[in-house]
């Protein structure tokens, strides 16, 4: 005849409840582990996009250095386009067969300003003022799982060129 066991009574082996609880703990721990690995993978993807954005920013600075050197940008162009709508540039093409996961960025540049700073040599007061032009480029984008209402990811890149050397 089977006697009624009390809850928690030690009968010398693990019971059904214990194994279910054990499996639940293992399951929860596994979910945590996989989430951590997924987070690491997402961070690697973010770093890749960050590097790509840096390359785009640097290429845009090269463009403006070439423009200033060879063409003469007009006054409107020298004002920059930080507050204007600009066309999107492809930042990361995910799955080649799925355009939905492509990540685009906006590339803008700030006012192109000539500056004078002491870079090298000496003048009357013992300084040399070297004119140089600063080019500021900004690349912004939203990560695939990022809320579009939140602040975008952003990198700012500054390049200088010295007209005296042209």
């Amino acid at each position: 005849m089977r006697t009624k066991r009390r809850w928690g009574e030690d009968v010398g082996s693990i019971d059904f409840i214990q194994i279910v609880v054990g499996l639940l703990i293992v399951g929860i721990a596994s979910v945590g582990t996989f989430q951590a690995l997924q987070f690491g993978n997402d961070q690697l993807n973010f770093q890749m996009r960050y590097r790509s954005a840096t390359s785009i920013a640097r290429s845009y600075i090269e463009y403006w250095q070439g423009r200033i050197h060879t063409d003469t940008p007009n006054a409107r162009e020298m004002e920059g386009n930080l507050r204007q709508n600009v066309a999107q540039t492809l930042l990361d093409k995910g799955d080649p067969d799925d355009p939905a996961d492509d990540v685009y960025c906006y590339v803008r540049y700030g006012k192109i300003t000539p500056k004078e700073e002491v870079l090298l040599g000496k003048d009357k007061q013992g300084r040399t003022l070297i004119s140089h032009i600063l080019i500021n480029v900004q690349v912004t984008w939203w990560e695939p799982d990022q809320n579009p209402e939140s602040d975008p990811k952003e990198i700012k890149f500054t390049g200088a060129m010295v007209p005296a050397a042209l």
Partner: protein
């Protein structure tokens, strides 16, 4: 009641039903974990393969970018729709007395980029590739600004730029593809393509750079 019957009906331990349910639950859990682990391992393998590709792509583009920054002249010869030869002439950066040339050769058939007769980054492609894995170079081009450009704004902009600008502004495009063919039943072919890009304004092309004189 004999001894066997007593042992079977003993109340310590599990009943047959409990043990069966536990085994079934454990089997489902182990099966689920195995599937998830295998899927995650596949994901990690793919991720690693793409990182390797990124590293190589960026290495090649950076190497050529570095040479172009000091270049005084660039010669590009195309082959089969892709750049097969790039000669970058530059002034010896230390003594400024001799011109030197870096010769890049792209062999798309052998998936190899060479610089001055030596393979650029001999660790690529990795030697321990699994079955069905392969890398291929799809494109290696050096083209003037606006030409071969998928960006429509830049293509239109190039018509407004001076020849002096176009002669000195070059776009490097290096496109790689990683293939992972299905080996086991139920698997699917998988591939990823990435393009590595840099633009360089070859300023020395518009400067008077002679032996002994540089900017």
């Amino acid at each position: 009641m004999n001894a066997f019957s007593k042992r079977w009906r003993r109340e310590e331990g599990w009943t047959f039903i409990e043990a069966t349910i536990a085994v079934v639950i454990m089997a489902i859990m182990v099966l689920g974990l195995t599937i998830v682990l295998l899927a995650f391992r596949e994901q990690l393998d793919r991720s690693w393969a793409v990182r390797v590709m990124d590293q190589y792509g960026n290495d090649v583009v950076e190497d050529l970018t570095h040479d172009l920054r000091n270049a005084t002249d660039v010669t590009v010869r195309n082959g089969s729709g892709n750049t097969s030869r790039i000669d970058v002439k530059y002034l010896d950066p230390i003594r400024h007395v001799d011109f030197m040339t870096s010769r890049y050769r792209a062999d798309l058939r052998l998936n190899r980029i060479e610089k001055d007769g030596r393979t650029l980054d001999p660790t690529f492609p990795p030697r321990d590739l699994g079955r069905g894995e392969s890398y291929e170079i799809l494109e290696f081009t050096l083209s003037p600004y606006g030409a071969n450009n998928p960006n429509r704004w830049e293509e239109e902009d190039s018509f407004r730029r001076s020849q002096k600008f176009l002669n000195a502004t070059w776009d490097i495009r290096f496109k790689l593809r990683y293939n992972r063919q299905a080996i086991n039943p139920g698997e699917k072919d998988w591939a990823v393509t990435r393009e590595y890009f840099n633009r360089v304004y070859v300023r020395n092309k518009n400067l008077i750079v002679q032996k002994g004189i540089t900017d």
